[in-house]
Amino acid sequence: MNPLISIKSVSKTFSKGNTTIKPLENLSLDVPRGEFLSLMGPSGSGKTTLLNLIAGIDSPTSGEILIDGRDIAHLSRTELTKWRSVHVGYIFQLYHLVPILSAYENIELPLLLGKLSKAERKEKILAALDLVGLGDRADHRPSELSGGQEQRVAIARAIVHDPDLLVADEPTGDLDRDSADSILTLLNTLATEHEKTIVMVTHDPKASAAAHRTMQLEKGRLVEESRTPLSSLS
């Protein structure tokens, strides 16, 4: 079976003043469809850069990034934006919900780009809210929700348009343990039961343990790979 994500010899270089920085160097990686992959590593190891490349919000200096068979490495900024709107759901560490919009309206944002009718949008939003367990919080604004609930709304926003790929940048980094555990369980469910391919960056070994596979990065290279035993995944 073809992997959903296939990264081949990807390097990323950028200049800062007179210094050339290489956050990723000749990195290759395959992620099968429906896998929950965790990327770990110290600060500056290149994990967020890799996540951004997979999400199509940045482009590599060289190499190929095939997502579902399509090389996104050489797409223009406009093409990437269009591609993201269909194929990617992004989950941020600090949720980044729009404060003046209700949970319902925040989740609706990715759907505004399509041609769905209001009724069709409503059906999808309510389904997403139910999936993240916030069916009764649709009219609440972010300021009226807890951190864990905000992150659930952000996850609902990321999945409402049914993308194949979810990328999460430290999704539990700002949450207490209980909230973090429930978010990780939710992500695991999305991968296992809904066949979403998830790539998550984290510093937290406990969060990493919720993923199917963990890859360690150091100085822009993959240095270690470990699989979580099926028995420990709940």
């Binding site: 269009k82 709107s85 003046i100 944002l109 780009l113």
Partner: protein, 378 residues
């Protein structure tokens, strides 16, 4: 439409800032609309058209009604000239020959000739017959009556002339809206110029192309007389006689331009602040799949909405102000009603939208040109 609603919601995020910007825009657009009203009123009074067929016969080298004195018997000579349709002698008495905001003008005319000479005059209160019957009766222009709070039956005194309001009139001609028509002999006596003396003759000719030849003929006829004349088309007469007022109004153009630049700067500053405060949020929208065009559209829509709401308040405020205050500028016995108009209202709103659009172009470009990763890390 969905993006417009989103932009509208964004504006409510910082209500105080939006409100202050809208108030600033409203003040600027009030000034702009006021200046445009003056310019528009002046254009109506001075720009000639093919439909203009009226000449004004004035005393040569005189500019104020109190110094222009012509024998009333010129009337019959002018009436007999080929191409002349109608002539009316007018005695004018004003309280102020200089540029003034509250000029009172009496026009003494033969009461039985007025309606025939000017069929556009409509009596909207009182009656024309009362005016004809009573020697001290006056037909007061609507604008003048509003300004002075006059209604039929009221008595008022100005320039030493006491009259009773017989009717309120409206007319297509701005001049008629700002004067009080009285009986010619009554005004000649009341203003002590004496019977048989008038300020000017208004002459209607059969077609516009006859204006110049007949004007020349009139001036030639009375050239050797004790009271030589200077005859010009009505609007040219206005433009030449009310020079002070026209220069004053011409200057206000700069105030209007200043108001436009102030609004432009204000909206640009407000939208730029909005954009700077939302760098990360803009990046989130782009990450979700909103194109740069969509982001730019939302920023520009916010600018346009600020301009439009401020413009609506300012322009409608200015139009209401001129409507209820009935301001009249006067100079050398001529009056200029500063009247609100639909064209100024529409052009004011159009200008407000254009300024909102123009002011938000740069902020929109700023919002969309920054690299996405850089914005996400901001």
């Amino acid at each position: 439409m969905k993006l417009v609603i989103l932009a509208l919601k964004n504006l409510t995020r910082n209500r105080l800032r939006s409100l202050l910007t809208i108030l600033g825009v409203a003040a600027g657009m009030f000034l702009y609309a006021s200046v445009q009203t003056m310019q528009h009123s002046l254009s109506r009074a001075t720009e000639t058209s093919a439909a203009d067929t009226t000449l004004v016969v004035y005393r040569e080298n005189r500019f104020c009604p109190s110094t222009s004195r012509l024998p009333e018997h010129y009337l019959s000579t002018i009436e007999r000239m080929p191409g002349v349709r109608q002539v009316i002698p007018i005695q004018i008495a004003v309280n102020n020959c200089g540029a003034s905001l509250d000029v009172i003008t009496f026009r003494g005319v033969p009461p039985e000739t007025l309606k025939k000479y000017n069929p556009n005059i409509k009596v909207i209160a009182g009656s024309y017959d009362d005016f004809v019957k009573h020697s001290d009766g006056a037909l007061v222009g609507q604008h003048f009556a509003n300004r002075r709070g006059l209604s039929p039956g009221d008595k008022f005194e100005a320039v030493g002339v006491n009259v009773t309001v017989a009717g309120i009139i409206s007319s297509d001609s701005p001049q008629d809206e700002n004067v009080a028509y009285v009986h010619l002999p009554f005004l000649q006596q009341a203003s002590r110029v004496g019977l048989g003396v008038v300020t000017q003759f208004n002459v209607k000719v059969k077609s516009a192309d006859q204006l110049q030849p007949i004007a020349q003929q009139i001036d030639e006829t009375f050239k050797a007389d004790q009271q030589p004349t200077n005859t010009r088309p009505e609007k040219a007469f206005f433009a030449e006689t009310a020079k002070q007022m026209i220069e004053l109004i011409g200057f206000t153009r700069w105030l209007g331009l200043g108001a436009v630049f102030a609004v432009l700067g204000l909206v640009a500053n407000a939208v730029l602040l909005i954009v700077r405060g939302r760098v990360k949020e803009t990046a989130i929208f782009q990450t979700l799949g909103f194109s740069r065009l969509a982001i730019g559209f939302m920023v520009i829509t916010e600018g346009i909405l600020l301009g439009l709401v401020g413009g609506l308040i300012g322009v409608i405020g200015a139009m209401s102000f001129f409507h209820f205050k009935s301001f009249t500028l006067g100079n050398e016995g001529l009056t200029l009603a500063l009247s609100p108009s639909a064209s100024v209202t529409l052009s004011g709103l159009g200008m407000a939208i254009a300024l909102g659009l123009l002011a938000s172009l740069y902020p929109a470009w700023k919002a969309t040109s920054r690299p996405l990763v850089q914005s996400l890390n901001a």
